[in-house]
């Protein structure tokens, strides 16, 4: 079965960071790569991300599915940008260096290609970090550390519960879909996409109903054991911040600062070597 968003338990320095650290680092890292279009910085980030991925012991095949989905998005995004504003790069960089011409409207320019390169690099900088965050963060520990950085524990716990139920719901979807197939609803690739989508939506009704039951049971179980009683709660899975946590956050913080200073110094967010 396909694992979409799931914690994968391994022993690595990244796993040992607290969930809050990883969230903060991910956010800082993302902001940094969003702020800047300085290709020199953007080129370093994916390399660093891939190295971190190696450190985390998460393998490519663990995240194959979500990677291919984002790859499709990346291509689509680039294609749409080119279709709707083929001269976007020229506007940004303020020059026009024509390479070749597809039609009167669609001219391929060096500026546009450079812009697309930056766009791709942004994807490559952020996606590995998102995956890293999701696959190396234990939902319970994440809830504990979210609570520690000031998030209300009820919200923090709901997040953890939602993460915990994803595999269960996937399994249930699988079972229901098999029993529907046995009744003659074709869901294999023999059927057209529209029909398959329609068939898949029929599964949603039993899935939603059984999820509602599940919610009632779990909320009763939680209440009966005193959830929501006090303003605070303690956490079995809580882990103290270690120097590694502090260091990681400082590095990512510096990265964002660097991106901002760099932008300020250049006077523009966009860096172009042929300017």
């Amino acid at each position: 079965m396909i694992n979409i968003f799931n914690y994968i338990e391994r022993q690595s320095p990244i796993h040992r960071l607290t969930g809050a650290t990883k969230l903060v680092c991910f956010l800082l890292w993302s902001f940094a790569s969003m702020v800047t279009y300085d290709t020199r910085i953007l080129a370093v980030l994916p390399v660093a991300a891939v190295i971190l991925f190696g450190v985390s012991k998460i393998r490519l095949k663990d995240v194959k599915f979500i990677l291919s989905v984002t790859a499709v998005f990346m291509v689509l995004n680039n294609l749409l940008v080119f279709l709707f504003s083929p001269m976007h790069g020229c506007e940004i960089y303020g020059s026009v260096t024509e390479l070749f011409r597809i039609s009167a409207r669609y001219v391929v320019t060096r500026e546009q290609l450079w812009y697309h390169l930056n766009l791709v690099l942004k994807y490559l900088a952020q996606i590995p970090m998102l995956l890293l965050f999701v696959t190396t963060t234990d939902p319970s520990e994440f809830a504990a550390s979210l609570n520690k950085i000031g998030v209300n524990y009820k919200i923090a716990y709901s997040v953890a519960l939602a993460l915990r139920y994803i595999p269960d719901i996937q399994r249930e979807y699988h079972d229901i879909s098999l029993s529907q197939q046995a009744r003659g609803i074709e869901m294999s690739k023999k059927e057209s996409l529209v029909k398959r989508l329609k068939a898949a939506s029929a599964i949603l009704i039993p899935l939603i109903l059984s999820s509602m039951d599940r919610i009632e049971i779990i909320s009763n179980a939680m209440e009966l054991r005193g959830f929501g009683k006090g303003k605070k709660r303690s956490w079995y899975m809580a882990r103290p911040f270690t120097p590694a946590d502090i260091l990681s956050m400082i590095i990512c913080g510096l990265l964002l600062v660097l991106a901002i200073i760099d932008t300020a110094k250049m006077g523009t967010r966009f860096w172009y070597p042929w300017a």
Partner: protein, 567 residues
Amino acid sequence: MDPIIKFHNFTWKYNAQAEPTLHDINLEIFEGEKVLICGPSGCGKSTLAHCINGLIPFSYKGESSGSLTIFGKETKALSIFDMSKMVGTVLQDSDGQFVGLTVAEDIAFALENDCVPQKELFERVAKVAGEVSVGEHLHHAPTELSGGQKQRVSLAGVMVDDVPVLLFDEPLANLDPATGKQAIELIDEIKRTRNATVIIIEHRLEDVLWRDVDRVILMQDGRIAADVTPDELLSSDLLKTYGIREPLYITALKYAGVEILPEKAPHSIRSINLSDDDVNAVKNWYFKASEGAAPGNGEILLNAEHISFAYDNGRKALDDVSVAVRKGEMLAIVGRNGAGKSTFSKLVCGFERPRNGSLLFKGQDLMKLSIKERADSIGYVMQNPNQMISQVMIADEVALGLKTRGVPEEEITRRVEDTLKICGLYPFRKWPVSALSYGQKKRVTIASILVLDPEIIILDEPTAGQDFRHYTEIMEFLREINRRGITVVMITHDMHLMLEYCDRAVVLSDGRKLADAHCAAVLTDPDLIERASLKLTSLYDLAHLCGIEDAEGFVRCFIACDREVRA
């Protein structure tokens, strides 16, 4: 001594309902007592449990009159949190109530909510986990545990808070017979060591009475119908009147003409005192009764030979299993959770492909057929009807399989109506599915398979979680369609179902076939029972108690007599 729980003229009505669910309840429970609350589905026993643990009135809203006090305090004036300190609840669905991501977190949950420091959490969790022997599994996820272990974790999660009253809501519902027996033993042990007050809500009377119970409260239509000792209960007609299954040994004794009296201590097969006359009566009955008919020798419909299967993670689910299903039989496939029962049906339906072996249906190779094609001759009914039903209206749900097969409209109408009639659902044909009870929904799912006109129908736990009346309803219905010529294969660990409706049982354990024999032989073989996580039937003990050597023959004789009485 004052009662710790006291209902006085207590009535409760849910806001969503027109009529009260509980009427005029008067009940006292004293410290250190062990009380069983028994009754058919819908009798109000779960509502009563909700009143005791505080879900009523704090989570479910409604109106009450009269009074309910716990430790002398009126519950209305408390909060659900105050009540959770006095009454610990172990819910029926040990899967659903697993809050934590791991065993340790789940046990710690109540303490975390009390803001107990982490160091103390570690100590107390480790101690309680040891008490219910799940200490080795502290960092396991719920999916890695067996049903019994999950229940132990639920229990630990309640015990960790040192509550004086333990409330068990249908603790046996999802457990196989051997695990259920252990659960009852564990509850008893904890009651003794902690001197707790224990309240058990359950309709499986014989299983709960495996360990002594002080009182049985029998409920019916939201009222208390009886409040008696187990001995008094079994000596009366109450069980028959209120639709609770009688323990098998009691039924057998009654067939033999033995009078059940409180002074014979009939509450357990281990305690019962039978006079010489009684023993002779049983012997005479046994010698007189005829043996059951030999199982049929019909044509082999489905032949699975040397089937092996392993999941992607390498776990071997089936190892060289051969099963032949004959036309017209009612076959049980039994074994504990994870023994390979469900895997077997998945292979037959084509949800998974076996690694080795062959699957033939009437001599035709099933491997060459798709899921849909197999479904034309082999129907599969899932355990939970809510997972199968995808249409809003009953008739549409039953028609679904025919529509996707492109059957003409008129024929669909005719076949759907015919099937609804057979299933006793014809009067409801224009109703939405949501208006039906669980048992009726189960019928709808069976109807939606029957309409496709299969030759074999495979049912996964057809009677799980059903009370005696619904169990009988579903099983009589299956017997009826069996008489119409449909072969029925049931995956189950319900031993009554095996005894009462099946001739043959295939026993699986750890993916291997242990036995393929008459149900009477399976249920009287102590070694087999142990390995398959079943339980010896109390008829076996009764046979020995009466000096009858051939327990299997005794059980066969009981089955024959019982089927005659029921017919």
